[in-house]
């Protein structure tokens, strides 16, 4: 289905609904529909055109034209087409029809749009708050443009954690509180499990403890070339994915073509991240089920990749390589040799480890038929990456929406039909080797040339959607360019965002012993999902505190608490 046939199909089926359409490049289509036309169009896209919901974006355009906008961004994976369907909302009556009953994967997106912009999704089955803190005031919506980024809302005295009431079958069950801090969750997240004996009969989730509003900071104080550095800090593992994804979205919006060498360098770094991320996951998964030998060996094998990243970029993580228009550092011939030799060693050692693990019957006993996500559920919740591919949903952004150097590289995507954790493990193991092969191909084909394109002023009010296949699955960034040399709206959707919504289905009727590995099996990255920020964006200064100063500060704040 091409963009033209899609537009004519919508015109034909829903006359008068389509208000505007725009196709800045062959693989992106931006539609505007009437408010009441949104559910049928979404229904058509999701159920007939078999599109997948990537995310929804709410934008406050009231200072410009007095409206709010809500876009639902869909991917037609087979047709290399990303379709954004926009509806215009009146700020005096901020309501849109909910799509969650139609597309279960829209659940969190609509709750987030309410939390951050106050746009109500009418008919949402579960309209609890999702993103903002428990003590955030009910009537302040932070992404509205009239809310200053430095706002400190008044302290409230009552907290209302947005946890749901137990369902009928959960009333008699024991409540097991897992988190916010838990040995196998490396980041804060709270799961409330309803258990009968060892069996889980229901679960509830509260996350977003790390939400610090980096989208707001971007829209108010940073400029285009500062954002990649903050984007990279979204995640501690796949940071490069986020900075590359942001840059691609801006480049697409501004129609900047980056030099071929820069494309290859970004590809190499992305695949290096995949190698170390998958090895990290194999270790973590083994640790979760008590198999520390595999953890230690897998992390030992991974370590040279981190050193390699340090040699290339000056840092193990958080490379600071990306800018809008290209990359800041070259990978020269000597470095290429070093990459190849490190990868050769990593490949042999990883092969031994994977062969041993794949043949291990006890591992199979723990992982097979555990955390099952059916292909139908995988499609409905719109999961991505290894989680989707393990359920037989053959999507991979690198193939479906080829970006950077991937169109020129030769690779196959890993798909499994088992729908369980074992399949997810096999996929990650296979992808590790595919990634190593992709790096080799990239190094062989990398052309000489410039690293940065000439970037002029970026025109305002252009939209771009960047999609990158992160190790955990597709990460997507939406950028609406603005007039002040910064994005007017930047929305980040990491792979874990849809994945976590699928976790309750995987947990159903499983045992407590399976809980940690089920959550671990989607390779959750809470900070990505919640868009963490750890930098003081107002002063942009790093201050080192000495031990005594820190102690003094702690005591001071303690005294304040006591006095209150």
């Amino acid at each position: 289905m091409t963009a033209e046939s899609l537009i004519s199909a919508i015109r034909q089926r829903f006359p008068g609904t389509l208000l505007a359409s725009q196709q800045p490049n062959p693989s992106r289509l931006f539609l505007t529909v009437a408010r009441e036309g949104m559910p049928p169009v979404a229904d058509y896209l999701f159920n007939t055109a078999m599109a997948r919901l990537i995310m929804s974006v709410g934008t406050d355009k009231s200072p410009i034209d007095g409206t709010y906008e809500v876009s639902y961004i869909f991917a037609l994976d087979r047709e290399n087409l990303i379709v954004s369907v926009k509806e215009v909302v009146n700020p005096a009556d901020p309501r849109v029809p909910s799509l969650t009953n139609l597309i279960p994967g829209a659940d969190w997106h609509e709750r987030e749009v309410y939390d951050l912009l106050g746009i109500v999704a009418e008919g949402h089955p579960d309209p609890r708050r999702l993103v903002v803190a428990d003590d955030w005031p009910e009537d302040i919506f932070p992404l509205r443009k009239n809310v200053p980024y430095s706002l400190r809302p008044p302290r409230v005295t009552t907290l209302k954690p947005p946890l749901r009431e137990p369902k009928e079958n959960e009333k008699k069950a024991t409540v097991l509180s897992v988190g916010p801090f838990y040995p196998t969750l490396e980041e804060p997240a709270y799961f409330r499990l309803y258990v009968e004996g060892e069996k889980i009969v229901g679960s509830d989730y509260r996350g977003f403890f790390c939400h610090r509003g980096i989208e707001k900071v971007t829209e108010t104080v940073l400029d285009y070339n500062q954002v990649p550095f903050i984007a990279e800090r979204i995640c501690g593992i796949c940071g490069f994915v986020h900075s590359a994804c942001y840059c691609m979205a801006v480049e697409q919006a501004a129609e900047i073509e980056i030099p071929p060498r820069a494309k290859y360098i970004r590809t190499i770094m992305l695949e290096l991240e995949r190698v170390h991320s998958h090895l990290l996951w194999i270790g973590l998964a083994a640790h979760i089920i008590g198999f520390d030998t595999v953890l230690m060996q897998s992390w030992r094998i991974r370590e040279p990749v981190m050193w390699l990243a340090e040699a290339i970029t000056g840092n193990r993580k958080t490379y600071g390589m990306n800018l809008v228009g290209g990359v800041r550092r070259d990978i020269d011939a000597v470095m290429c040799e070093q990459i190849l030799s490190v990868l050769a060693k990593v490949e042999t050692e990883a092969k031994e480890l994977v062969d041993a693990a794949v043949g291990d019957q006890a591992l199979k006993m723990r992982l097979q038929n555990v955390g099952v996500l059916s292909p139908e559920d995988a499609r409905k919740i719109c999961v991505v990456g290894p989680t989707a591919r393990a359920s037989g949903v053959a999507i991979d952004t690198r193939k479906d929406f080829p970006y950077l150097a991937y169109p020129e590289l030769d690779f196959k995507i890993a798909v499994q039909q088992g729908c369980d954790i074992w399949s997810r493990t096999l996929i990650r193991a296979e992808e590790t080797f595919t990634a190593i092969d992709l790096i080799r191909q990239s190094i062989k084909r990398m052309p000489a040339g410039e690293l940065m394109a000439d970037v002029g002023p970026i025109p305002p009010w252009r939209e771009g959607v960047g999609s990158v296949e992160a190790p955990r699955g597709e990460a997507s960034h939406y950028v609406l360019t603005g007039p002040d040399n910064r994005p007017y709206r930047w929305r980040v959707r990491a792979a874990t965002y849809p994945q976590l919504q699928a976790v309750p289905r995987m947990l159903d009727r499983m045992s407590i012993a399976d809980f940690p590995i089920i959550v671990g099996s989607v390779d959750p990255c809470f900070s990505c999902t919640e868009r963490v920020i750890a930098v003081d964006a107002t002063t942009r200064q790093v201050r080192t505190y000495k031990k005594n100063e820190l102690l003094a500060l702690t005591r001071q704040s303690l005294r304040q608490v006591i006095q209150k």
Binding site: T174, V175, L176, S177, Y182, P183, T184, V195, G197, E198, A286, H287, I288, I289, G290, F291, D292, T293, L295, M296, Q297, R300, D360, A362, L363, M365, R366, S511, I512, A513, D514, F515, P516
Partner: protein, 300 residues
């Protein structure tokens, strides 16, 4: 006199040498992990650190506070009933059965302490512990009874002396294997450390414990390893006994060390099993032990 000395030696072994054995095992584990590992005395440092730490107040009722003490006490008492160099310090007719009861006391204390803490994780852990006890205790009872039948005596020491004087018997080889499998669970080693399962239920019954009380539990776990392994090598692998007590004891200690390293290696090459899988596995082990008992009755 000899009994008194061996008794003192056993208690010293459980109290002083057991943490050291764990230090050795941590080194073994580290080697398997390609790690450097902590110093040999690390378990001692850990215990010392726990001893000076603040104790958990709050959920403090009598059972919660008494459980760790009784637990370590039970292990110490058990050390007086295990043979060492062929001598059972507190041996009397039926000592093997008493030993089984005492050995069960330690995990029961852990469960009670956990339940008294009120944490749901402790409940889950205690539940698992009780379920596993129900499949693993029969193994101990059956194998020790088989050894008694073989030795025509209810005195543990007599059975051992009988076995030393004869060639390896099929029934006791079978029972020995079953016993060794049960040791892995009894000393809370992977793949059967479900009751503690750090990654699943945050150390289960121990989740609310800290400081001195936690140290006592840790200590009794270290001690249990030596108690079980000594019982194992003395009952099922008693050769050679040279008649010279210090040399016999030395030989036993070397065998215990080898067995402990074996236990640790097994622990490092398997992921943790789930409770249903563990129960199924030990149902098989009980059957195996029963076969050994039948063989013993048949005189094999």
């Amino acid at each position: 006199m000899k009994n008194l000395l061996v008794g003192l030696f056993n208690m010293g072994l459980v109290l002083l040498a057991a943490p050291l054995l764990d230090g050795v095992l941590r080194q073994v584990r580290a080697r398997l992990h390609s790690r450097q590992g902590p110093p040999l005395l690390q378990p001692w440092y850990d215990l010392a650190k726990l001893m000076v730490k603040d104790d958990q107040a709050g959920a403090n009722n009598f059972i919660f506070a008494a459980a760790p003490v009784i637990c370590l006490g039970a292990v110490l008492l058990a050390s007086l009933f295990i043979p060492m160099g062929g001598i059972v310090p507190l041996g009397f007719a039926g000592d093997a059965l008493v030993l089984i009861y005492i050995l069960t006391l330690a995990p029961i204390c852990m469960c009670l302490g956990g339940m008294a803490s009120g944490s749901p994780f402790a409940y889950v852990g205690s539940n698992r512990e009780i379920m596993m006890l129900m499949v693993v205790e029969p193994v101990l009872a059956i194998t020790l009874i088989a050894s008694a039948i073989k030795g025509h005596s209810l005195l543990l020491a007599n059975s051992i002396h009988y076995y030393v004087a004869h060639l390896p018997a099929l029934s006791l080889i079978v029972c020995g294997i079953a016993f060794f499998m049960a040791v892995q669970l009894e000393v809370a080693k992977l793949p059967f450390d479900l009751a503690e399962a750090e990654q699943e239920i945050m150390e289960g019954p121990l989740v609310e414990y800290s400081g001195r009380k936690l140290a006592l539990f840790q200590w009794s776990l270290y001690g249990k390893l030596i108690v079980f392994l000594t019982l194992f090598v003395e009952t099922f692998l008693p050769w050679p006994k040279l008649g010279n007590l210090p040399v016999d004891i030395l030989i036993t200690l070397v065998k215990v060390l080898v067995a402990a390293v074996l236990v640790e290696i097994v622990a490092q090459v398997f992921p943790r099993l789930k409770i249903a899988q563990t129960m199924r596995y030990f149902a098989g082990v009980v059957g195996f032990a029963l076969a050994g008992l039948v063989l013993a009755v048949m005189g094999l």
